[in-house]
């Protein structure tokens, strides 16, 4: 069924809030700060997204997921990526940071300000600037003796 209520940018943003980062299922692409612009036309919806990292391999998955989420609105959907402004970690919302912690990933901070996402300890050590994904570094918590990942500040 095609929805009859008028479709606005707010409607689209609400739907985008249900699309999650494929690698971090606890954070929506809205809370991750990926949404740059939403343009609602008579028969078309255009969404511009900001890649977190230029080489992020999840981009095509996100594009597909956004298209699928917006399809029920009954208009053609155009999802594109732009570097019009650089995505930075400042774009993460508080809900996004909470979502990262829920996934066991420390929100971005300078290494000395990183806290363990499991026990909040400040007794942490950086293990490697580079982690299992381009956007993450590896740390070790001396408090709860767990290795953990931290989002890289960028």
């Amino acid at each position: 069924m095609v929805m009859t209520a008028p479709i606005t940018a707010a409607t689209v943003r609400e739907v985008l809030g249900t699309v999650h980062d494929p690698e971090i299922p606890t954070v929506s692409i809205v809370d991750l700060g990926l949404v740059h612009s939403i343009d609602v036309g008579a028969d078309r919806i255009a969404v511009e997204l900001l890649p977190t990292f230029v080489a992020c391999p999840a981009l095509e998955v996100i594009r597909t997921d956004v298209g699928a989420a917006l399809a029920p609105l009954g208009r053609s959907v155009d999802v594109s990526f732009t570097f019009a402004v650089p995505w930075t970690t400042d774009r993460l919302t508080d809900a996004g940071k909470a979502g990262l912690r829920a996934a066991g990933i420390a929100p971005p901070a300078e290494p000395s300000a990183v806290r363990c996402p499991f026990c909040e300890s400040a007794k942490i050590a950086i293990d490697s600037l580079f982690g299992p994904a381009l956007c993450r570094s590896l740390f070790y918590c001396r408090g709860c003796r767990q290795p953990f990942e931290a989002f890289k500040p960028i």
Binding site: V54, L129, G131, K152, I154
Partner: protein
């Protein structure tokens, strides 16, 4: 073939690119994209065989970053030349002599010290080049560069730590680093060798400084690091007339590897 003749034949290939500004821009984008693509692909050979697990992950991340930068730069090139070729076509569908990467990247990755030495020389030179593009009049390039520079900060931290570690360790580590620098040093400056369209690039504000100025700034920075580590100063570029052409057998081997899938399955996509 010297750079001049090779560049001319490659520039002939930019049929859709129109005027002198667009052709000069296309040469710049192609040279930068090829640099990032070749070092990215070459360093990705370490994936699975890095000296320690953390470095295996680090070098793989660095290589992935460079391939992403290459993809974005080939994308800008495709828009500039506008002859129907997409980023993949630019990356994979050219003969080996059509690649414009710097001679520094023509060397095989070598041992870990050679990989670090090359990354150090390339990342510092690339960083000086990106600085001269941060205020580019070509908005899509300026925007991409703003993004890339944020990522390259991590590359510089990584490679600075490693060059200090190898130089200060003494013994075999330092000997291997010295051997790598002796081999790569004469080609280090090729990343910042002037391009034939340089006058147009500067006149149109696409690059905000001549390459000679960028190279001088880069050499001053490297000289300070090398002095602190007791390393000899970099020599001048050995063959400035062949900075980006006349590629090595090592590159042809790499080319054969990175085009293998594309050749065996024409038109394949992920």
């Amino acid at each position: 073939m010297t750079d001049g003749a090779a560049f001319q034949s490659i520039a002939m290939d930019f049929e859709g690119a129109g005027d002198g500004r667009a052709r000069a821009l296309a040469l710049l984008l192609l040279s930068m994209a090829d640099d990032e693509f070749v070092i990215g692909f070459s360093d990705s050979e370490w994936t699975g065989i890095g000296p320690i697990l953390e470095e295996d992950v680090a070098i793989s991340s660095l290589a992935q970053d460079e391939l992403g930068h290459a993809q974005a730069l080939y994308g800008l090139l495709a828009e500039t030349v506008a002859d129907g070729r997409d980023a993949d076509a630019w990356a994979y569908d050219r003969p080996p002599e059509g690649y414009l990467h710097a001679r520094l990247l023509d060397h095989a990755r070598g041992d870990w010290a050679a990989t670090i030495a090359r990354r150090y020389l390339y990342d510092t030179a690339d960083s000086a080049r990106l600085e001269a593009l941060a205020g580019s009049s070509h908005a899509p390039l300026r925007q991409l560069v703003a993004k890339i520079r944020r990522e390259e900060r991590y590359h510089l931290m990584h490679v600075q730590t490693w060059i200090e570690r190898l130089a200060d360790a003494g013994g075999e580590s330092r000997d291997r680093l010295l051997a790598a620098l002796a081999l790569l040093g004469p080609d280090a400056g090729t990343v910042l060798a002037p391009l034939p369209g340089e006058a147009a690039l500067v006149r149109h504000g696409i690059v905000t400084e001549p390459f000679a100025t960028i190279e001088e700034r880069w050499r001053t920075g490297v000289a300070a690091t090398f002095r602190a580590l007791g390393l000899s100063e970099l020599p001048p570029t050995a063959r400035p007339d062949r900075a980006r052409t006349d590629h090595s057998d090592a590159f042809r081997t790499l080319y054969s590897d990175f085009t293998m899938v594309r050749r065996s399955e024409v038109g394949a996509t992920w």
